[in-house]
Subunit: 386 residues, 2 copies
């Protein structure tokens, strides 16, 4: 990756470090190394406030450069910092929301004189405002994502289960260039490539905090498809992540097996209306919670409040930031006072679940521009009959 | 899951807790909840040494039972423990090798009187000896895994890239019932469903500590396939994980595009010889390091030492425990003094990389029995010409 891009990203972090009097960051987690170094290594990026970053690397063994130092264990970093004329940090930040406790303690012990603080929120704040290059990668992802989805009707066969359809959509996505891997912040949420939900399975509560649940195929992965046969009158929602270049593009579309009930088409239109209304007011300075409240108002007036974002267990958000991970800032949810800023990228996913039919609604990825928001995943939004 | 199975697993953990004077464990991480509660929840299993375990659950909202308590936040656990007549723990273990630092600190603060210790190694030790039911799930996984692999020649088409072949093998595995998700202990190693390596890409060093590397398709996932065209004279190794029931069955097979060099067939036979020799001596009481040394001896005598487990960057192990995660105990590696015990399950993967040809060798999953080891992944082990 080009040095100016990396410098831009590092300086976004440094700016926030300076506000808290932090004079160095030690970055060890994969997504944050990808963000600040442009590639994943087994090692550490040491980012001082006022001098160039140093990479201490265990693997791969073929990296070279003025600021690259091979190590076998993290304790070697102290001597290498001294040899490079760098002072020991007075206030050091580690990724306390991501590093395992034992790893955090080991790294903190290397700098016994330093005050060590949790820097995860700083890095996440920096990452929440995408650079022009990151937005460009999202733009390309959106195009690839839409291309793969446009072929879904071609791979459907009557008599399929949700699982069989999912496997074919996964293949479409992979052939379009999707890397497959699904990155989530925190370790409590797990999913394979995304979810395909049909019929009443869309209402099944799951332990994971995704927009909808689903029973899953096995207790070891309790979310998403459960082997439901795709029957006349069922809706099917495809929500497979579009990670083409490391960025988690997010998009859902609804398909129908034959014709659905009138109520189903009405519910779908309500979700499109939520999307339209939010898209018409969202711009820098708008408060996230207000966008969530717009969604709830529209849905409640239409009489679908008790089926919005699930039935027996309802998700309490209508959108979430996306980036290297699927769950970044901002979150469009109650009590979220954060304001939209140019460069934020988020998924907006108003969804309604109708018992006896299945999931309805829409999800697109959006980037916040100077005076509004722009859709990155452009593709037919009506219910497509299979 | 049946209560006797769960009690067996919990008592394995309790036995190790008692040895260290730990009177309660608080289990919060998904794989450990799956192990001790039989399903994944968003919540906590509180496991006292001398009384039944209590489940505190945030999601899903449809769990009920004598020992199940809905909560919104972990701090509610204290009052619920008191209401159930349980004393506060004097020495409490948390998953310090898995929980994020910030989560560990929050949970520890709920029990200010307790001495809090890192219990990850205890749980991993308990999990390393599989129960008869876990071994049965591995047995079934091995059969499914082999069935999917047996169809690989049917999906090969001349002119494919490694990526195109991988996508078809992924589909075979998924259609056989593979859940797709790849669970790894720790957060430094990432992979999609596994790897397909062909030609010189097999020698490319990666940041991840898998047996072989590979450049990857994008800097955001630097391992495995890189778009190599499958050409006459190349070998291709398929190493896609067989997670059918939550257990990470592990198996690699080598295919050839046309005919390979004589050296390639010789290298492959050396790996089979390593496998045979280890299988003939491995049994309870044998030291892991000794098995690694057998592999190195056989390979060195055959003149392939500098190409064993990679070329420019060589992995320093020849086998690893498998279970709910791909990297469990035991590890067959230098300085590993651990002895094999009945009920351990491990992958044995002697592999050689030949520049100009690609990867050779074998990987199977094995269970340690009372008097030897038994192969779980039974399938043609020769190089299969595509």
């Amino acid at each position: 990756m080009l040095q100016p891009e990396l410098k831009l990203r590092r300086d976004k972090i440094r700016y926030l470090m300076a506000q808290q009097g932090i004079d160095a960051a030690l970055i060890a987690c994969n997504v944050n190394l990808l963000y600040t170094y442009g590639q994943i290594v087994s090692g550490y990026l040491y980012l001082p406030l006022h001098s160039p970053a140093l990479l201490f690397v265990k693997r791969p063994n073929n990296l070279t450069g003025e600021y690259v130092f091979p190590i076998r264990k993290p304790e070697q970093m102290v001597d290498l910092l001294k040899e490079n004329g760098l002072p020991m940090p007075a206030k050091l930040m580690l990724e306390g929301g991501e590093l395992a406790y034992a790893d955090y303690i080991r790294l903190a012990a290397i700098f016994p004189e330093a005050e060590v603080v949790n820097g995860t929120s700083i890095i996440r704040e920096a990452r929440s405002i995408k650079t022009p290059m990151e937005i460009e990668l999202f733009r390309r992802s959106g195009i690839m994502h839409a291309k793969a989805y446009s072929k879904i009707p071609e791979v459907y066969r009557p008599g399929m289960t949700d699982c069989e359809l999912s496997i074919e959509v996964e293949r479409l996505m992979r052939r379009q260039g999707c890397l497959g891997i699904f990155r989530v912040f925190g370790q409590s949420m797990e999913i394979f490539m995304g979810s395909v939900l049909a019929g009443d399975n869309a209402a099944a509560p799951s332990p994971y905090d995704f927009a909808l649940g689903g029973e899953g195929m096995d207790p070891s992965l309790p979310g998403g498809m459960n082997g439901t046969s795709l029957k006349e009158g069922y809706s099917v929602m495809v929500d497979i992540a579009g990670n083409f270049y490391g960025y988690m593009c997010d998009m859902s579309r609804v398909f129908s097996i034959g014709k659905l009930s009138d109520e189903a088409y009405a519910a779908h239109q309500v979700c499109l209306e939520v999307q339209e209304k939010i898209a018409s007011v969202a711009r820098p300075g708008v408060v996230c919670e207000d966008l969530y409240n717009i969604a709830v108002d529209v849905v409640a007036k239409a009489g679908f409040a008790d089926k919005f974002m699930g039935v027996s267990q309802q998700a309490r958000f209508v959108g979430h930031g996306i980036g290297l991970e699927i769950n970044e800032a901002p979150v469009l949810a109650p009590r979220m006072k954060q304001e939209l800023e140019p460069g934020m990228v988020f998924a907006l996913e108003p969804k309604i679940v109708l018992p006896g039919t299945g999931p309805l609604g829409i999800e697109n990825s959006w980037v916040v521009t100077e005076n509004g928001i722009e859709k990155l995943t452009v593709c037919n939004e009506e219910i497509i009959k299979l």
